[in-house]
């Protein structure tokens, strides 16, 4: 009897769920689910993407990555900080009003020790509520790119956070799960309907959204389910169970394209792949050479000339890569077509340079490479091994999972390593301060150029745009001559879509549902 009731109930739910009335349901998938719905807890792409459907930021980017007002209508720089004029009449999903208080609260929450965003906004020293819809943020010196740094800093409701005791982000060492991990209350275009982590998350259109009618999107409901296995993910698209796959494996794109009713979209990604050479230590750890060959710029140039980037693009990447000689992508302020053009391949010249530097018979070194992080990461490294063999450099490949690879870079335990770098702020300062400044936390290449260090410090506070751009250019010219890295290519990202869905693809790989149109 009991079971019969349940059966009837479930049949009813099933029929209610089927689109009897014209409701646009977008079903999509990607490899990894959001880790948490707490907007300040994890600085990780899938988490930011999921939360960005429910929460909003002061400043956002459109699919062309141009800055756009979101919860702030406008902003201007002053001598000691930035003033943000907030959008009026905005309500959170629970009905409470969005005010300057919520902004200050959210930023303070994001500055908390347990937040993963504290580094991005560390330049903010204090905040001042001018009125209900104006906030002033004082910075430690002038910060010309503060708005660029706020594009994934979501705004929470102070009242909701107080009522649910989520005043600070979830702490790792805590024993209890906090309310914000599985509940959300933002101002965004979609409202959380249900969430089963790693199974299914359902969002429904927010009819009271401030942007209603201002964007082309016509999706009423979003059903997201992660599928970790790549082949299964593609199968779900091929069988029509999902309309959109964010991360189909590159080798399946031709097959998706060839299927009726499916399309593929590709775009250059803001992520560059390169090898780092440790030129900072006196003796390489994994080499038979005396001292450190990487200290000599001729050796570094030879390492660059040995790589056939076109061959990697053609054979390893199936055409889906943009060969380069820069470690930052087009779209980032500082990337210029001249610097971006790949250096040629010239093994003979490379050999001559090695001989000149005192290594006529080459040397050996270990290449540390991840095998589960970037597109075809291990295969790129394998290709590089044979290219280096041609100039007499014996490269021993050590390809390991990312959880073991990245600590080697952070702890400076590697001579020669693969790294990929994305730039969320779209400004070269992000690249300099982490990869090229002698104190940079990811500068395992040990690169140290006094002028580059100086420029890195200066562009953090230079407000004159023209002057700043020319300083960035100067620094890049120095870096291109020093060749501390071996740039390979910029990654291409690809989406698989049903032909009935149109979603603008963007270089940051973010899904923007407010622009998603279902035909």
């Amino acid at each position: 009897m009991h079971v019969k009731h349940l059966l009837t109930a479930s049949v009813l739910t099933l029929s209610a769920a089927s689109p009897a009335f014209a409701e646009n349901v977008l079903r999509w998938t990607s490899q990894g689910d959001a880790l948490t719905l707490d907007p300040h807890s994890q600085n990780e792409a899938p988490t930011i993407a999921m939360n960005g459907q429910m929460y909003e930021t002061l400043v956002t980017r459109d699919a062309d990555l141009v800055l756009h007002p979101e919860l702030a209508e406008s902003w201007e720089a002053g001598a000691d900080g930035w003033t943000f004029n907030l959008r009026k009449g905005v309500k959170f999903h629970d009905g409470s009003d969005f005010t300057a208080e919520d902004v200050v609260f959210s930023f303070e929450r994001a500055k908390h020790e347990a937040s993963d965003y504290k580094e991005q906004i560390k330049s903010i020293t204090s905040m001042e509520i001018v009125d209900d819809h104006t906030v002033k943020m004082m910075t430690d010196g002038v910060n010309p790119i503060l708005p660029n740094q706020l594009t994934s800093l979501y705004i929470m409701d102070k009242g909701w956070a107080e009522a649910n005791d989520v005043l600070v982000p979830q702490d790792y060492a805590a024993k209890e799960e906090n309310f914000a991990v599985r509940n959300a209350n933002g101002t965004g275009p979609f409202v959380l309907e249900s969430r089963a982590p790693d199974e299914m998350t359902v969002l429904t259109r927010n009819a009271d959204w401030w942007g209603e009618g201002m964007f082309p999107g016509n999706v009423d409901k979003i059903e997201y389910r992660p599928i970790s296995n790549a082949a299964t993910r593609v199968a779900a698209l091929l069988s029509g169970e999902v309309d959109f796959v964010l991360d189909p494996p590159l080798q399946d794109l031709k097959r998706i394209e060839a299927t009726d009713g499916l399309t593929v979209k590709t775009a250059a990604q803001i992520r560059s792949i390169f090898f780092g050479m440790d030129q900072g230590v006196d003796k390489l750890r994994t080499s038979d050479a005396e001292g450190n060959p990487f200290k000599d710029v001729r050796v570094r140039e030879a390492m660059n000339l040995a790589i056939d980037r076109e061959a990697i693009k053609r054979v390893v990447m199936e055409g889906l890569a943009f060969p380069t000689s820069m470690i930052t992508s087009p779209g980032v302020l500082g990337n210029t077509p001249e610097n971006d053009a790949p250096v040629g391949t010239d093994p003979e010249r490379a050999k001559a340079l090695l001989a000149e530097a005192g290594y006529p018979d080459g040397f050996s070194v270990r290449l540390d490479c991840p095998n589960d992080r970037y597109n075809n990461d291990e295969k790129i490294c394998q290709a590089a091994v044979s290219m280096y063999a041609r100039i007499g450099v014996t490269v021993n490949l050590d390809a390991i999972p990312k959880s073991q690879h990245f600590p080697k870079i952070q702890n400076r335990e590697t001579d020669f390593y693969m790294l990929g770098w994305g730039v969320p702020t779209l400004d070269s300062h992000y690249v300099f301060s982490y990869l090229l400044d002698s104190e940079g936390s990811w500068n395992a290449a040990g690169y140290n150029n006094a002028r580059v260090n100086e420029i890195t410090t200066d562009i953090a506070t230079e407000i004159d745009a023209a002057k700043r751009t020319s300083m960035i250019e100067e620094a890049w010219t120095l870096v291109q001559a020093d060749m501390p890295y071996v740039p390979i290519h910029h990654q291409v990202l690809a989406w698989g879509l049903a032909a009935s869905v149109d979603i603008p693809i963007a270089a940051d790989d973010a899904f923007r549902p407010r622009f998603a149109v279902m035909k």
Partner: protein
Amino acid sequence: MISFIAKRLAQSVLVMAIVSAVSFSLFNFVGDPVNNMVGQDATREQRLEIRDKLGLDDPILTQYSRFVGNILQADFGLSYRIKRPVDDLIAERLPATLELVFVSAIISLFFGIVLGIYTGIKRNSWGSRIILSTSLAGVSLPTFVIGIALIYVFAVHLRWLPSSGRGGVVELGWWKTSLITLEGWRSIILPAITLSLFQLTLILRLVRAEMLEVMRTDYIKFARARGLSERAINFRHALRNTLVPVITIIGLNIGGLVAFSVVTETVFQWPGTGLMFIQAVNFVDVPIMAAYLVFVALLFVVINLIVDILYFVVDPRIRLGG
């Protein structure tokens, strides 16, 4: 009897302690969780601070004793990855795994026994030969290949069944089941077949071998001589005697099914404990990995304990041998 069980229990505890210590020491080689826990812009100091907070730099023995101490207080900690209590997560995911294991156990039992009898009785027929040679695929093909092949045939080409996920879930109190809806059965059928194939082949071959053995014994010859019907001989006399070893094997293999479900669940995105474990390994989510390994070890130990006790009850020789 009581002293025997007490001895067995003491041994089980020892096994648990060793298994958990060995698996715990392995975590040192999986990598650094902190890198996955913070964004790329975190500073070195922040990383060190988290390591320090989590006690990741303590000697492995200190970490292990802290871990055991927490377990004894039923505190498995918070997942590094999704920041929820580990015991809640396991309790939430367990029904999915157990239902999958249950259905595949039924499939492998039913088809294993039926086909085993058939190939045992009609051992020279073409049907038997075809079954035996295709059953080789069940043992020799890796699970994920079988899973992907089934998905491409039944979900992509024929579109009869969903390719992945667990649909039609209904909550019965704290137990979420998918076995009482049509949608639920549609989604469990492919993963259950994938998971069952290996066990099915094993049971098939075991039943067949036992049948062939039993058919040669004197009491079957005698039954034939008495003029009993083939049906009565095959099913009442022969089959019953083949089932004893089959039941033993099945008991032991339920644990194996749970362990094998790691691969099947990953291929079909089946939201059980196995999928959770794989995701934990990729992220180096130590609290979940530790709890899962302890859980699986416990499962094997309990099953073995029950089997041992059953032997004790069934077989007088153990009692006498001491």
